[in-house]
């Protein structure tokens, strides 16, 4: 059976450390001013602040990157087929095809796509990681670390998470770690009502 790669993120374990975010940045040569994977504080107005009134407070973190939707609205709208779903269920962008119309960006309910509004600026002054360079005027986003996962490695964010909050695997395999976690913990899809069927599940 074809694979359907997916991920679980345990929000009980995630401690908002941003390591996965920077790991992703390094792995994927992500330029300054954008991130493929960002950590949202579910709390107050600023990063790491709670909501509520002392001492009745609430704070947690939610990492957010492309959720690799099975019914991806970004794939549907791309006029030139630059955004596509590969045979293992990754939603990818063909950087040589993208015309920069940003329709996919408007179509994604999660605001996870990022666009090269300018010539990418990299600090340090050179490219890093394993992903190819993207040009100005091109869309990009999480690829489920295709350069790694195609070789059977885990995505970088899964590998580096110090809290071991992330798991990666085949959702079509009922015995995979992710399938089990989703079953046992009642994995939830983000904005499930949109029908995009994300392959990244949150465990709450």
């Amino acid at each position: 059976m074809a694979k359907k790669l997916g991920m679980t993120i345990d929000l009980k374990r995630c401690m908002g450390c941003h390591t996965c975010s920077l790991g992703c940045k390094m792995q994927n040569n992500v330029p300054m001013g954008m991130l493929w994977n960002r950590i949202l504080t579910i709390g107050g107005e600023d990063v790491d602040t709670a909501r509520g009134e002392f001492p009745s407070l609430e704070k947690s973190w939610m990492p957010l990157s492309c959720l690799h939707c099975e019914n991806a609205s970004c794939v549907k709208v791309c006029p030139v087929g630059a955004t596509y779903r590969d045979e293992d269920g990754r939603v990818l962008i063909n950087y040589d095809r993208c015309i920069g119309c940003r329709y996919c960006m408007a179509a994604c309910p999660y605001n996870v796509r990022v666009f090269n509004w300018q010539k990418p600026v990299r600090e340090p002054g050179h490219s890093y990681g394993e992903a190819p360079v993207r040009a100005k005027g091109i869309m990009e986003k999480c690829t489920l670390c295709v350069e790694r996962t195609a070789k059977g490695q885990e995505p970088r964010c899964v590998e580096v998470c110090p809290a071991k909050a992330r798991k990666f695997g085949d959702l079509n395999d009922p015995n995979s770690e992710v399938s089990k976690a989703i079953r046992e913990r009642g994995g939830q899809q983000l904005l499930a009502e949109k029908g995009t069927k994300p392959q990244v599940y949150y465990l709450r």
């Binding site: 001013g33 107005e45 920069g100 940003r102 309910p109 090269n116």
Partner: protein, 402 residues
């Protein structure tokens, strides 16, 4: 003679503005869309607003001219030619706004080499292409010394649904997006068609008046009144759809929809919303509803101008109401996609969208419209006044054919 001088001067000014726009575009090409006010949160701006707007404007002309033939309304036939020219120019401008909006315009032909027919944008490419071809053919046949009226009629029969389709498809670009609460509505297509009808007709009225003022082209005064009556009806329809849409959105009180609605009624988009509702719908309707006012060309022109402004505002609120409030909330928000200047503190996040067009965008906007002006003037000169005699002939011809 005076006309000729005016013409040269207008063409000169328009040419200069077009050139400025072109320079701005070159600047945008070499620096990227970072020179616009768009960023990752609000990722479409003035260009797409204008695209919607001009698709709509192009409708009026074609609908008037083709319904003249299809429904056989002789009064409209009189203005069929300028109407089609106007439609053609507007649809070209709409296309240009897409080109300048692209991040990688050098790949624009991919739209034809690698079309992906699932995408409403490709539907739009297809219908706009058809629309453009139809308009051009229509124009060609209309301006033949001896037009073939059967062909013209067939073409009209294609042009009318094409016009409706263009607006519907453009609407579906937005309306089919479940990600964007204020777009995702079945009413989006009727709403677009309604806007197209009133703004397109309003523009036609203004252009006809302009032609009269600056050339030898003559329009029967009665025609203004009947066009104005039609405009009043279109405005009423538009108002009805807007009301229905807002009511449907507001009534259930769903959280994200209510938030988007808040933007319109009292938030940052309120000026655009209320300008449209009051100045763009209510006032023109009141003006045009009175038969006495419909006899006054200046009042009709005022109403028409208001309608156009109103529809532009409507495009603005329609587009941005969906961009400003991300569905997934949480600090620090969304990365803007803008690298900091050297030495500056990194500020790359936004919790909510904001957008102001930059000078570059305005320059390109004005440039494109000026280019449209040039196209219209040249086309009008060649097809309308240059052959006044034949033109008059055409005007009589349909009646003869009966």
């Amino acid at each position: 003679m005076e006309n000729r001088g005016n013409l040269k001067m207008s063409l000169g000014i328009l040419g200069l503005l077009t050139l400025l726009g072109l320079i701005a575009w070159v600047y945008q090409l070499s620096n990227g869309l970072i020179v616009t006010g768009m960023r990752n949160v609000v990722s479409w701006g003035l260009y797409i607003t204008s695209f919607m707007f001009f698709v709509g404007l192009s409708a009026g002309g074609l609908i008037v001219s083709s319904s003249a033939t299809v429904f056989d309304i002789p009064a409209f036939k009189a203005v069929a030619k300028p109407a089609v020219i106007l439609s053609t120019v507007c649809i070209i401008l709409a296309g240009l706004f897409i080109v300048v909006d692209l991040g990688s315009p050098e790949r624009i032909l991919y739209l034809f080499i690698h079309p992906q027919f699932q995408s409403p944008l490709i539907w739009d490419v297809v219908v706009i292409a058809i629309y453009l071809v139809v308009s051009l053919l229509y124009l060609k046949h209309m301006t033949q010394p001896a037009p073939d009226y059967r062909k013209l009629a067939t073409m009209s029969a294609v042009a009318l649904p094409a016009a409706v389709l263009v607006h519907s498809v453009t609407a579906w670009i937005f309306g089919l997006q479940i990600a964007r609460v204020s777009w995702h509505s079945a009413l989006m297509a009727p709403l677009f068609v309604a806007s197209a009808l009133d703004s397109g007709l309003a523009l036609l009225i203004i252009v006809l008046a302009g032609l009269e003022r600056y050339s030898d082209y003559k329009v029967e005064p009665k025609l203004y009144a009947s066009l104005a009556g039609l405009l009043a009806a279109f405005v009423a329809v538009d108002a009805f759809f807007v009301f229905s849409e807002v009511l449907t959105a507001a009534y259930p009180g769903e959280e994200s929809v209510t938030a988007a609605l808040g933007l319109l009624l009292s938030g940052p988009l309120a000026p655009f919303f209320w300008v449209q509702v009051v100045l763009g719908l209510a006032v023109p309707f009141v003006i045009l509803a009175s038969a006495a006012n419909r006899q006054s060309k200046s009042k009709i022109l005022l109403a028409a101008a208001l309608v156009i402004i109103g529809v532009f505002c409507k495009r603005v609120w329609l587009l941005f109401s969906s961009f400003l409030l991300p569905l997934v909330e949480g600090a620090p928000g969304i990365t803007l996609g803008q690298a900091p200047a050297a030495g500056a503190k990194l500020d790359m996040w936004a919790m909510a969208g904001s957008y102001t067009p930059t000078l570059v965008e305005w320059a390109i906007f004005i440039g494109i419209i000026s280019f449209g002006g040039i196209m219209f003037i040249i086309a009008a000169r060649r097809l309308l006044w240059a052959r006044e005699d034949t033109a008059r002939g055409i005007r009589i011809a349909p009646t003869a054919a009966k």
